[in-house]
Amino acid sequence: MKKTLLIGTFITGSIFASLVYCSGSGEESGGITGWSKASRLDVAPVNNELYRSECASCHFGYQPGLLPARSWVKIMSGLEDHFGDNAELDPDSHARLLRYLVKNAADLSNYKRSRRITNSLSPDEAPLRITDTLYFKRQHREISLTRVKNNPEIGSFSNCIACHSQADKGSFNEREIKIPGSRRGWN
């Protein structure tokens, strides 16, 4: 009897421990472990090494889910003049990155902000900048351009991570906003 009780306790304990472990590791890794995690994030985080090394080494690693596929196609077809700089890639990297961007674009994503960005655009609109989308403008209309430009730690609306402290993880929650040089949040 004693032996059975002991084994029973052990088994129950193991199951409980493994459950705690699983949920804990899911939270910490920042990875997508299920639908609940996905819906809490705003856009799918970047999960492509080539994108990190080729794109996010020069500028903020804008998640593919911030623009529709038609925008990415347009951006990738003009890398010779990429917002004023030449960002040409070898053909193989170009093809791989285009595939990644299109596959994970906003109009093919189920994430909250991706859907809102897509819905704010007309079907023939293919903005090259996230800051040109109606959704972005609406969300930032209370922030003046001069305030952004005059702050050397921000400089531009395209510098997401300057204020959205968790932007690199695909999270743009209002509570996470920290405006440099200001103790206050977004307002």
């Binding site: 020069c58 003049d81 917002f83 004023g84 700089d85 030449n86 040409e88 890639l89 070898d90």
Partner: protein
């Protein structure tokens, strides 16, 4: 278990052995010569580096120094995008010229951006030699 130890040791060794810029520069220069370039000169590289070009897309002349600056030991700033550029000197920036693919990628991009055309093997060799001595 021993597999993991072996893997960790391997990773440790990889992290510990630095890639020397001089070796990569030498290989790259040899590559340019096999493409038809002759001897390389530091002086020619310096002249090319400071070569000011009137660009159709720019109201101001463009040269390498426009963005990289004149001090090879400090960071530069892209005149158009404002992007910070790490120092060009391998002394100040040990990662500089340790990856041949990166050298080619940036020569292709920056020659076209600055001069409006790709650089020749001779020009790339001269500039690379000049920069590697900084």
């Amino acid at each position: 278990m021993p597999k993991y130890i072996l893997l960790l040791t391997g990773m440790f060794i990889t992290l510990q052995s630095p890639v020397f810029a001089t070796e990569v520069v030498d290989t790259t220069l040899q590559g340019y010569q096999s493409q038809g370039a002759g001897e390389f000169s530091v002086d020619a590289g310096k002249t090319l580096w400071n070569n000011e070009i009137i660009h159709s897309k720019s109201p101001v002349t463009r040269s390498c120094a426009s963005c990289h600056g004149n001090d090879f030991n400090t960071t530069g700033k892209h005149i158009k995008t404002g992007k910070t550029i790490k120092p060009m000197s391998p002394t100040a920036n040990p990662k500089r010229f340790t990856d041949q693919e990166k050298i080619e990628k940036w020569f292709r991009r920056n020659c076209k951006w600055t001069w409006g055309r790709e650089c020749t093997a001779q020009e790339k060799g001269d500039m690379l030699l000049f920069l590697s001595k900084q």
